[in-house]
């Protein structure tokens, strides 16, 4: 039923070169260059905000990581649903889903930490029970659970099947959680504090730095997912090879008994 031999295809990295290819090297260089620009521009070139002061600089990390984390979970969801719907799905789908979720959880943690630091400086509190914040926190916990399910063990096919179902359930679950939190909050008075995307007046350089941040984190995301995907593939190869070796040893043992 599953494409069990896809790990021997041309995408197998050569043993000497590690998991890097010329494509991933290019993306890695782009990530370093754009990220350096974001750090330098975000910390030194861009002005402080009239209302928020230097706290506004957190935005150059917070907004891109949030967007890319959402993108990562969308990638995981699409790859998992494709795995379930295809008759002979490739394990690449599962590994991309897993790698993307790992990076998504990392970026979402960065979003939550940078967001609550920004909130402390600007709102005077680390956390508000805003529907968007609450859903984001649930998204984070849900994918931490997804990663735990991926670590349950078993064959690569078992792992792929199990985690694809969990990721698809998460696709059902997240809108329900968001909807219920919105309903829950709507009964309380709306937060009278500054909205996260409220009255930030941005000059051209700030906007440019923000979008550079989106590119920097997108390159980082792609680079990390490519490398993780290949590492996971190598790990799968080790598992499969280990099984083959074990079977061969038992066969040798048996042929010894037969004689």
């Amino acid at each position: 039923m599953y494409g069990e031999n896809d790990m021997n295809h041309d995408s197998t990295p050569d043993a000497v070169g590690g998991v890097a290819t010329s494509t991933s090297r290019t993306i890695g260089v782009l990530a370093i260059v754009t990220m350096t620009w974001v750090v330098v521009s975000g910390l030194f070139f861009t002005p402080a905000d009239a209302n928020q002061g230097d706290a506004v600089r957190i935005m150059y990390v917070h907004v891109p990581t949030a967007w890319i984390a959402y993108l990562a979970f969308i990638v995981t969801g699409v790859a998992s649903l494709t795995w379930l719907l295809k008759k002979t799905p490739s394990l690449v789908l599962d590994r991309v889903a897993g790698a993307s979720a790992e990076v998504g959880v990392l970026f979402m943690a960065m979003t939550l930490v940078s967001g609550s630091l920004w909130g402390r400086l600007t709102w005077g509190t680390y956390w508000v029970w805003d529907p968007r914040l609450t859903t984001t926190a649930f998204l984070f916990v849900t994918y931490v659970g997804y990663l735990a399910v991926r670590g349950l063990g078993g064959s690569p096919q078992q792992r792929a099947q199990r985690s694809a179902i969990i990721a698809s359930l998460a696709v059902l679950e997240i809108p329900l959680v968001h909807f219920s939190v919105v309903m829950w909050r709507s009964l309380h008075q709306s937060a009278s504090i500054l909205r996260p995307d409220g009255d930030v007046k941005m000059d051209g350089l700030m906007l440019f730095t923000l979008f550079s941040g989106v590119f920097a984190f997108t390159f980082t995301f792609i680079w990390l997912v490519m490398h993780r995907q290949r590492l996971l593939m190598m790990r799968d190869i080790v598992i499969e090879k280990g099984l083959e070796v074990a079977i061969r040893e038992r066969q040798i043992e048996r042929s010894g008994f037969d004689k």
């Binding site: 916990v141 349950l152 099947q161 969990i166 059902l172 959680v177 219920s180």
Partner: protein, 230 residues
């Protein structure tokens, strides 16, 4: 034809689970007392009569969720103990029927638990249920229980027979059932008439519970087979 055999499997599985419970009395002798103790602990922690009355609805459902983990562990411990789940699968038992049966047995056990807890809230937290709110309360209980049972059966089946399942189950289950906690709490508060709420304010939340139960019911029927097929 298939739906008929699905229901038959569901009935047999549910009856089997309930028969095991009748003999072992784990839920009635251990889980219900545990949940009642949790209610007492809440009173110690909050230490304020008016506060207890105000949050009684939420506490009832929190105690239910804590107990849910234990009941689900128990429900699938019986299946994995002697490789029963594997035998059922090898025997070609319809997984949709298995899902419905396990969920149905959970529904009955949870309803007994919830009734006890609501009785506990009336006695310990001094809440009142008006006769006019009874329909709301019962509908809320039924739909919330259906949702909890469906999700619980899906994740229970997933972690059945896996090492470290005791710790993994709450991590997977809690985020998924958050909408039930929110919806059931609000509907129950409306039924208790807390802070001047009337029972009509509870029905939108019952709608949320219904959507939740429907989504995970359909999800479970289609996912349970592939999930336990390993």
């Amino acid at each position: 034809m298939k739906s008929k055999s699905t229901l038959r499997v569901a009935r047999i599985v549910a009856a089997k689970d309930l028969r095991i419970e009748m003999h072992s009395r784990v839920v009635t002798n251990q889980v219900v007392p545990f949940a009642a103790l949790v209610m007492v602990m809440f009173a110690f922690a909050l230490d304020d009569d008016s506060m207890l009355e105000r949050v009684a609805g939420g506490l009832v459902w929190l105690a239910t969720l804590f107990s849910l983990f234990i009941i689900i562990q128990r429900s699938f411990a019986i299946e994995t103990a002697d490789g029963a789940l594997d035998s059922l699968r090898v025997a070609g038992v319809d997984p949709a029927g298995l899902f419905l049966g396990k969920a149905a047995a959970l529904v009955i056990q949870l309803l007994i638990l919830e009734s006890t807890l609501i009785g506990g809230a009336i006695v310990l937290y001094r809440v009142q249920v008006q006769p006019t709110s009874l329909v709301l309360l019962v509908t809320c209980m039924l739909l919330a229980t259906l949702g909890l049972s469906f999700v619980g059966t899906i994740f229970g089946g997933l972690v059945a027979g896996v090492r470290g399942r005791e710790t993994l189950l709450p991590l997977l289950l809690l985020p998924a059932i958050a909408p039930v906690l929110i919806g059931a709490t609000k509907a129950t508060e409306a039924a208790f008439g807390i802070s001047g709420m009337v029972s009509s304010e509870g029905w939108p939340w019952v709608g949320l519970l219904a959507v939740f139960a429907a989504v995970f019911g359909v999800g479970g029927l289609s996912a349970f087979g592939p999930l336990i097929e390993e």
